[in-house]
Every structure is written in C-alpha cells, then in structure tokens.
Amino acid sequence: MISAAEAMVRCLEAEGVTTAFGYPGAAICPFYDEIYKTGSIHHVLVRHEANAGHEASGYARITNRPAVCIATSGPGATNLLTAIATAYADSIPLICITGQVSTDQIGCDVFQEVDITGAAEPFVKYSYLVKDAAALPRIFKEAFYLAGTGRKGPVLIDVPLDVQRAMIDFEYPSEIKMRTYKPAFKGNPLQIQRIRDAVNSSKKPLLCVGGGIFLSGAEKEIKRFSEKAQIPAVSTMMGLSIFPTDHPMYLGMIGMHGLRSANTAMNNCDTIIMIGARVGDRAVRSPSFLATGKTVIHIDIDSAEIGKNINVDIPLVGDCREILTELCAAEYDNDHAAWLSEIREIKNDVDVNEETEGYINPKVFIRKLSDRCPADTVCVADVGQNQIWTCNNFGFREGGRFLTTGGMGTMGYSVPCAIGAKMAAPEREVVAICGDGAFQMQMMELATIIQEDLPVKIIVMKNKRLGMVRELQTNLYNDQLIATDIGNYPDFVALARAYGIEAERVSTMAEAEEKIEKLVSSKKAYLLECNVYKLESTL
C-alpha cells in the first residue's frame, strides 16, 4: 500500500514525465511532499498559476506530449483557468492537477474551496473530481490518453486532500478501457480517393495548413504532398513555420492580418484543402463567400469542426499525418504550372523600411533578428501588434518553430511559453517577443527564469501604448483614445537587472544589429527593450 499522493507521482513517472510546472498550497501539499520524497520530477516554481499552464503549454508544444501543471485549490485553481482555456482553444495537451478541500467539506464553502471542475467545464477536454483514491491510476492513464490523442487538449484532475492521503494498492494500468472515446486515426479510403481525384482535376488547388499539422507531427508529410502534387500552400497563424518562409510552394499567412499573396490565393483558387485548420474567424472572415464556386475539402481529427464554420464538399476525419501519408502514396499528373506562375506574380507591397527618428522599426528589426537567429530557433510571439509584426516578418527556416496563442489571444503568454519551450529544448535558441502591455502581465516570471537559470531571450516592443487597441480606437472609434496609454514605465532594463537578468535598450536602427548580436550570442537570459514609435501601425 502507498499513499494516493505517492501514486500520483508514480503515475507521472509511468507516463515519462520528468518536469512539472506549478505553485503549491495547503490542499495540494501531500502531492508536493511526495514529489520531494521521490525526487524524480523536476518541479518548476512559477510566480503565478496561469504561467504554470502557459509554461506547460510551451513544453507540450515542443515535446508534442501532454505536459503537467499543478495548482492548489480555490484561487490557485481559478488562476489556472485562463491557461486551461488558452490551451483548449489551441488544442494543446495539458494535464492540470489541482488540490481540492477534503471530500467531507466539499459544498460547505470552506476556505479556498471552489468548484473547479464545474468552472473549467466549458474549456477542458475532460475533467475528473477524484472521490475514490483507488481510481487514481486509471484516471491518470485515461487523462494522458485523452489529452494526447484525437483532438488534443487540457484534462483537469481535481484531487481532494483526504483522497491524496488515502492508502491504495498501486498498479499502473497497462491499457485503456474506455467504451466511449475512440478517436479516428485512419481516413476513410473512399474520401481519400475523392481528394486525389479532386486534386488531379483541379486547375487551381490550394492547401491551407493549420496548427493540427504540428499536433499530428505531419510537418514533413505536408511539404512532401505539396511538392509532389504541386499544390501551393498558405498558413493560418497557428500553422506558421510548418513551411519555411521562403519555401517555393509557400505563400504566407492568411486572414485579417495576413499577406496579400496568401489571401489572393485563397480567393482565386478553385479547390481548397483545409488541413488541421478550423476556419477560425481571424483566418477566414467570411466562410460562405470563400466557399462560393470552390470545391472545399476539409481534413481534421475533430469531426465537429468539419462543416461547423464552412460548407464542405469533401469531408475527411482522421489524423493529418496518416492521411497525408496516404495522399503522398498516389501519383499526380497535373503540375498546375499556370496557377503557380499566376500566384507567384502577386507581390506583397508592405513598405517596412520607413524609420522614425529615435525609434526602431519593429518590422525591420524582427527581420534582422530572424536573420541572425539559428535556423531551429523557437520564436514565441505574445498578443497584440507584436504578434502580427512577428508573424509577417520573422523569416522561418527548416526546423524553426513559431509559437503563439492563436485561438484565445491571451496576453502574457509569450514569456512563460518560452520558459516551457526552453525547458523542453535546452539546446535551441528560444526568443519571446512581446509588447510592453503584455510584458507587464507576465514579468513576474523573470524570477522563474533566474531561479531555473534559463537562457531565454526576451524582446519587449515598448510603444507605451496598448498598440492594437489604440489603432482600433483610431480607426473605428474616431481616434477617441481611452485606456490605451500605458505610460513610459517601468524601465524594463532596470527591472530585468533587478532580477539579475542582463538587459539593454535599443532606440535606433543603426544600433539594432549590434544589440541583436549581443542578445543572440548571450549564454544567459537576456532582455532587450526596443523603443517603438507610439503610432506604429500593425500592418
């Protein structure tokens, strides 16, 4: 017999978990005590529970396996909610473990009690309130399976204090016994054949790739299919960096902040293959307009996404990688040469070279940064103008990776996500790019960076504004600016140094390359504050 708390650690070991992100509290102490005693799991102490979720998210996205975050009951658990919802919107596999008050006290509104399984219900893939300690091994086994298969997502396990203390016979189940949950992996062969036929008969086919490609590990297969069948590709924000930016078949990011080349191709194609993309409103503003006169093919692991936002001619449910492997096995006799030359003519006339005296141009700066970063760099963008600047200007190369929160758009995601990514891939360069607004929602994590001695690089684009909302107020609200001036404080360089993190400021393009060189070559954590003009535009 072992304590259920120890069994929880043994479950994590059995799942190969070596790192967890969390913040302790009274209701989760038995579990923490076992983490201490067993010593097999490296616990990263965050400075706010939301960041435990975001750090686990960054970790999960690099390892492509469920990652673990931990919080205590009540406020600890509610602080975690934003991160759970963020992971749900982007289909990131998380195991969220929360402490709960003792079972005999549940429902009595005792200290630090909250119904967290109830609160999280709309944005978890599944949740467990554990009432029977003996069920814990089965629950952990199911939770990892649920989080990491099908359409991935966060699973919450809420464990009351007395349940953690109970003694149980421990044996980790070797197999899953669930009669209800059976994710489809293989695609229907008849539908796959229909797609092959549609590609061969199409004059102007187009691939639209989304975050599902990463989730199924199909980065190689999608490029092989695009090259073999001679189909150009566009990307959603979540699909950025699947194709290197200068890949000959690649046209860029679609959507309201996307490139003209990509959006024109979307409008002019005759067959569109959406794969691992859910036709979100930021990517496709008017699905019914887009679908008019086109053959729409939608490939997704989640059948509920197919036909939800756009009418589909050929639906196909299954794992992207399995399906792309099938599609690659066929022969394609149409080289779509006229279509390829037509869309390669479309130029993106974004003028990014203008400079404002005493400021850096963030678009040019990000281009220079990506030129200097190693090919396999993990680049994390926050939310706001900095996100779009990064999407449209960071040049991704083969093996590079872009991370951001495309679905929820959660400010304060970039630094914790970068911490998680760096923990998962210590040998890779990891750069977080954020604005001065979002940075102030996450700057407590500088302490985590120092405590873990993580060489994470941070770029703060400081325009002293909540720039994207400021631009919205200018364009849509008659330039009546309210609550978007965040002032010229704090001094982020001094702040970083107060934590013991190297930091510098850059205010002119003339010194940009030198500062980028210092940032990239630093073996330690490094923060660069970039002075950006307050009226700098998003596009």
Partner: protein, 162 residues
C-alpha cells in the same frame, strides 16, 4: 424544425451538467430533456427534443458525440419514433362537472388519480400531440397546475439504439 435526439451516456456524476452546459454555450434551444437509467445500470439514456435547422441538428449531434461520456447519439426522424410524455394536471371540478370530466378521460385514455370537493387531478401518458388535444378538452374547466416530464422516445419496430 423539431427533432428528437437519443443519447446513451455513461451513468456517473457530472454527465448531465456536461450535456446541459454544451447546450447553453453552443446556443442550442431545447424543448425538453428526459434522463433515465437503461437496462444496463452503467448507462443512462438522455432524450432531447430540440429546435433548429438542419445545420444545427448536425452540429448538435457532432458536439454530443465529441463529449467523452457519450456512448452513442442518434437523431430520430418523426416517422420512425414512438414518443411519450407523462402529464399530471390539476383542474377545477365541482361535483356537477365530475361526470363530464370522467367521460373525457375515458375517451382520451387519461386516469383520475386524486379528487377533492373542488378539484380533480388527472394523469395522462401519451404522445405530445395527443396530450395537446387532451389539454384543449379540459382547459375550459380551469387548469390549476400542470406537472409534466420531458419527451421520451423509442424506435418503432425491432430496431434498438445500443
């Protein structure tokens, strides 16, 4: 368009909350909902009557299928199902009116389950359409209170949903 959905789910705590939450956040309108155990005590059946166009019906079925606790979802068309509701109706009925009410109940297949000097309580179990006709016959007496279940439904013939 009204449609009836029969859902088999795991019979454990929290399942109904998950289903109800799904309806609320996806904006599906439900007319009635009935939950009960099946011959397998680990499985419950939820019968939902909802309103919406074909796209909504399809989405509802897919979203229900996506819930981890869902074992099976079937949308039943009006001509393949037998639907039943149970209503308990308390009406005003003075002694002079009792024979009239008795006749209506006999013809329509309702039972009288309680009586006071001024009221009668009627029980009817039948299809929603039949119950509507029954209601129109007795509403003249003055309805004091109605308690009704949601619609439950089963397929006609030998077919089953398992």
């Amino acid at each position: 368009m009204k449609y009836t959905v029969s859902v088999l789910v795991e019979n454990h705590a929290g399942v109904l909350a998950r289903i109800a939450g799904l309806f609320a956040r996806r904006g599906f309108n439900i007319d009635s909902l009935a939950v009960g155990a099946t011959n397998d005590p680990t499985i419950s059946r939820i019968t939902i009557v909802a309103d919406g166009d074909e796209h909504t019906a399809q989405q509802l079925e897919k979203q229900l299928n996506k819930l981890v606790d869902t074992i099976k979802v079937r949308t039943l068309s009006a001509d393949e199902l037998l639907a039943r509701e149970l209503h308990l109706i308390k009406i005003n009925a003075a002694p002079a009116q009792r024979n009239e009410v008795l006749t209506v109940c006999e013809v329509m297949g309702a039972k009288i389950v309680d009586m006071t000097p001024t009221t009668m309580t009627l029980e009817i179990s039948d299809s929603p359409e039949h119950i509507q006709r029954f209601n129109s016959l007795i509403e003249g007496y003055g309805i004091r209170e109605v308690v009704s279940t949601g619609t439950i439904a089963i397929q006609k013939g030998a077919l089953t949903i398992k």
